[in-house]
Amino acid sequence: MTSPGDSGEREQWPLWEVFIRSSRGLSHVHAGSLHAPDETMAVRNARDLYTRRAEGVSIWVVRASAITASDPDAKGAFFESPQGKEYRHATYYTESDTVPHL
């Protein structure tokens, strides 16, 4: 399973996924994708395409074909484990609702 939209070797330039850190202290977040011949050009293209208004202080690019995704057809089963485990959330514990600082 690779990134949606990756067309393998059919296109002249491969597809890259772009991640931008908007400011120090925050994670890199997926911004979009682009085509580029290699990693150096992908970073430069990403700068021109996704940070024209100072949206980022750092860029990651990764070839779309290098991304491994969970199987979309196994959605239900794959993400079943947390179902019914509300006790993993603080909101499950209501006895302490009126207790301060808890």
Binding site: P4, G5, R10, E11, H28, G32, D38, D48, R52, A69
Partner: protein
């Protein structure tokens, strides 16, 4: 034609939903106003509609660079030149966001480029009008980008996730386009009688074509119904056109320009402006390729694409050679561990 992705998707639709569970899941997501993502099952017609709409939208952004690119060398000041270049660069960016969104549906960008330059794919007919004066840069920003924003804001909530996300980014950037156009006209309207006349004549040229950007009247727009049921479109063509006219009238008053429609008047009962019939015969003509600039727009795009071929090929050849030499692998191992340089 060897097109593994498309074959994959075709097979997906035929074989992958024998029990109708894909359709049920799709209907449920649409009904609950959730989003459809690329790997979800979707009806073939939904996919086809989206590929057509998003790629046409992308093509419009790319072709839309031309009427304004035409004025970069003749912008009246360095400031205006810088602004115009930034705007045209944005249009290129918008085209790329949208091609990426369309590509997630299984049609690659090279194919969409090909369809544009061979005249197989459409783009917004507004870009087949010419820009004979500087004031047209103002009218394009105020009227054409204004209409585009009106159309695009609801598309941020389109049911197809990648399309909506691309539109959010585009809408954020688009409002600068409209404001700079408004300012160009405002400056001309504060100028000499000749400048005022230039502004007015430009508004006369662009007003009706901008209103036609919303597409034919609802009664003649058979696909709209389905697009609205799929929550790709949120409002009908006529609803959006009315909204646009209602916004334009007070803006025109501030500018001091006259909107070229004798039937334009406030309707107290409806709480909206009434406006005159548009020339839909002209719309059909331009859409059919017989507008003032259809031929030159596509041929310029084709020439630019073909002239860039050696650059794309050289960059690809260089990249292939680098990876064949193992240099790119060396470069990485000579670096600090991935997490360190990634964090910088």
């Amino acid at each position: 034609m060897a097109d593994p992705l498309r074959q994959l998707h075709a097979a997906h639709e035929l074989d992958d939903d024998p029990d109708g569970s894909g359709q049920r899941r799709f209907d449920e997501l649409i009904a609950t106003d959730s989003r459809i993502e690329p790997s979800d099952w979707m009806p073939a017609a939904y996919r086809k509609t989206l590929v057509r709409q998003i790629s046409q939208h992308a093509n419009s952004e790319i072709i839309g660079m031309q009427p304004e690119g035409n004025w970069i060398t003749r912008a009246p000041s360095l400031k205006r030149k810088a602004i115009l270049m930034a705007k045209v660069q944005d249009e290129a960016g918008h085209g790329l966001y949208l091609y990426s969104a369309a590509q997630t549906l299984g049609t690659d960008r090279d194919t969409m480029f090909e369809n544009l330059i061979t005249g197989k794919a459409k783009y917004s007919s507004i870009f087949n009008y010419t820009t004979p004066t500087w004031a047209d840069m103002g009218s394009i920003g105020w009227l054409v980008d204004g209409a585009a924003i009106c159309n695009q804001v609801p598309l941020c909530r389109a049911s197809y996730g990648p399309y909506g996300r691309a539109m959010v980014r585009i809408c954020k950037e688009e409002s600068f386009h409209q404001r700079q156009g408004f300012e160009i006209l405002l400056e001309l309207m504060r100028g000499t009688p000749a400048q005022q006349q230039m502004a007015q004549e430009s508004v006369n040229r662009w007003y009706a074509p901008a209103l036609m950007m919303f597409g034919p009247p609802d009664a003649d727009s058979p696909n709209s119904q389905q697009s609205m049921a799929w929550k790709i479109k949120r409002f009908s063509n006529d609803e959006l056109r009315q909204r646009f006219v209602d916004m334009l009238v007070p803006q025109a008053e501030i500018l001091g320009v006259t909107l070229p429609d004798p039937d334009l008047k406030w309707n107290e009962e409806r709480g909206h402006y009434d406006f005159g019939e548009l020339d839909w015969a002209e719309f059909t003509e331009v859409l059919a390729g017989r507008g003032p600039a259809n031929a030159i727009r596509v041929s310029r795009r084709r020439t630019a694409h073909e002239n860039g071929e050696w650059v794309r090929a050289a960059a690809r050849a260089y990249a292939d050679k680098q990876s064949a030499d193992g240099q790119s692998a060396d470069r990485q191992t000579n670096q600090a561990p991935a997490h360190e340089w990634m964090a910088s």
